[in-house]
């Protein structure tokens, strides 16, 4: 093979990937960026006139700040809960289940629902959390409460439940992977050197699991920040997110304001992800 062809080969191999990313990621982002500076004609079209009005509208509206507050609230709550649950489940599987085969079996048990529809998994809370649902029926039957609890379904509570239900797996998988590679002798050495079990956790296991935690956090935060679907269905229309508001704009063909809002959201998500990426070398972590 000629030298020239050999150096071009990796590029040829990467070409299909680029052939997807260029028209379906880079170009659309540029289009959205461009649209955010255009003037709407009030009828779903756009006039080729440069304006900053769309951004002024986004930053000027009190609604924007409310939406971000609500979205960030959901993101932080979901992140904290999925991290808490995901971390302890990964720790349990890696360090406390002694039979390796059993641990892998239990791990797979956690991943199975990932292969089924998210939407279906979300509506599956209806028979449980509804006003006449199973949870209320049991609580009323046992005399704990007199009236059915209304906040269980179509509320912020239900939104968080649905998020945690869907996204904990995104924490478990990377943390499980990172933890599996921790040399157990480091933990034993810490214990032999007099560390309590809690100190071994805090000073050895958590730092060594950092990369998995970072990777999981990126997925969970990016998904919640970009979601509108769970919020819309599970809050029963009571709550909104940045993207659900954006979706309403699109519904009435308000493209330029929606585009400006999208650009701001994109900037926020990129900022969040790059802050996390600073703490971890994802590429090396994956190739380890």
């Amino acid at each position: 093979m000629s030298q020239r062809l050999a150096t071009a080969e990796p590029w040829l191999c990467a070409a299909p990937l680029l052939a997807v990313l260029a028209p379906f990621f880079v170009a659309p982002i540029i289009v959205v960026l461009a649209a955010s500076f255009l003037q709407g004609d009030g009828a779903g079209g756009m006039l080729p006139q440069f304006t900053l009005d769309n951004y002024a509208a986004v930053f000027g509206a009190g609604l924007t700040w409310k939406l971000y507050l609500s979205t960030v609230k959901f993101a932080v709550l979901t992140w904290a809960l999925t991290l808490l649950i995901g971390f302890w489940i990964a720790y349990f599987l890696v360090f406390q289940v002694r039979n390796r085969l059993l641990a892998i079996g239990l791990f797979l048990l956690c991943t199975v629902p990932f292969w089924t529809s998210n939407i279906i998994r979300m509506i599956s809370w209806i028979p449980l959390l509804g006003k006449n649902g199973l949870v209320n029926a049991v609580l009323q039957g046992s005399g704990v409460i007199g009236q059915p609890l209304e906040f269980l379904l179509f509320s912020d509570f239900a939104v968080v439940v649905a998020y945690v239900h869907q996204l904990t797996i995104f924490m478990i998988v990377p943390i499980f992977n990172t933890m599996s590679r921790i040399d157990r002798r480091t933990v034993e050495a810490a214990r032999d050197a007099g560390a309590s079990r809690w100190e071994a956790m805090r000073l050895v296991i958590i730092p060594l699991s950092k990369n998995g935690i970072a990777l999981g956090s990126i997925f969970v935060l990016a998904i919640v920040m970009g979601d509108f679907f769970v919020v819309k269905v599970m809050s029963g229309g009571g709550s909104a997110s940045v993207v659900s508001a954006l979706y309403e704009d699109i519904g009435v063909l308000q493209y330029p304001p929606a585009a400006a809002s999208a650009v701001v959201l994109l900037a926020v998500v990129v900022l969040m992800v790059s802050l996390i990426l600073r703490t971890v070398d994802v590429r090396r972590e994956l190739a380890r």
């Binding site: 990467a14 379906f24 170009a27 406390q96 599956s124």
Partner: protein, 272 residues
């Protein structure tokens, strides 16, 4: 101080309880809707169960008000299969490229991360507008296909990174030393060794596409994929038909995973 090494610490039982609760919360709600989908005509959205019949499954595929479930189902399966094939090929080639390294691979890597974390609806709107400006018609076979690939392909490449990390280059070098051409090395050594990893990529590609919603919404054109049909059903339909659809899609997912796992098992068996 616990001198008995085989005795489990108290935290084991706490975490075991947490794990059990998690699995229960994971499967419990889904099992509920599978059970409730087999009610008869009197059935509602909550327990108690009313009768035992397949009424809502028939309803699902025959009623107009439940939408074009059959069409959505067929489109989603077709699209997912095409996405799967392209994802496997694309991520395998890209993984080879990243392994050798090339000028600008860092930029391409961050583009991939960007494509993964970008809010799906935003990307969908961008693709929709792009098609509109270019005078092309959005359709599930073009714009939605691209939108799905912008999500499954980077995901597949990341999985391939992890798969490639466990690949021993010595095998490849041995093949070359024995006189194999590059093509023969790829076909007879690299691909067979990576086959289980490639199947894992296929499994991810299929599921992510089959279940994709937010990137599809603005890019599918006039004909809906299944998740979009389910979405509009959640807004309009308040009968156990919804649950019947849940049962049907889950069975379809599991049939496909089962087939994939069976292929992996056969490959592993032939090796030993």
């Amino acid at each position: 101080m616990n001198l008995d090494a085989t005795r489990r610490p108290w935290t084991f039982w706490v975490l075991a309880a947490l794990f059990a609760a998690y699995v229960l919360a994971l499967y419990g709600p889904m099992l509920c809707i599978y059970v409730l989908s087999f009610q008869d005509v009197r059935g509602g959205l909550v327990f108690p169960m009313k009768g035992l019949a397949t009424h809502w499954f028939v309803d699902l595929f025959t009623q107009v008000r439940t939408g074009d479930v059959r069409g959505g189902f067929e489109r989603s399966i077709t699209l997912a299969l095409v996405v799967t094939v392209l994802t496997v090929l694309g991520s395998f080639l890209a993984a080879l490229a990243f392994r050798r390294g090339f000028k600008g691979d860092g930029v391409v890597f961050y583009l991939m991360i960007g494509s993964l974390v970008a809010p799906g609806l935003v990307l969908g709107i961008g693709i929709g507008l792009l098609f509109q400006w270019l005078g092309l018609e959005a359709s599930w076979t073009t714009s939605a296909l691209g939108a799905h690939l912008s999500w499954t392909l980077p995901f597949g490449v990341l999985v391939m990174f992890a798969v490639m990390a466990r690949f021993d280059r010595a095998w490849e070098e041995a093949a070359r030393d024995l006189g194999a051409t590059r093509w023969q090395t790829t076909r007879l050594v690299i691909v067979p060794i990576l086959a289980p990893g490639l199947l894992a990529v296929a499994l991810f590609g299929f599921t992510l596409s089959y279940d994709e919603f937010s990137r599809t919404l603005q890019t599918t054109g006039g004909l809906n994929t299944l998740p979009l049909e389910i979405w509009s059903m959640t807004l309009n339909v308040t009968s156990p038909s919804l649950y019947a659809l849940g049962t049907v899609t889950t069975v379809a997912s599991f049939a496909i995973i089962g087939a994939c796992l069976a292929v992996i098992a056969v490959i592993q068996k032939r090796r030993t």
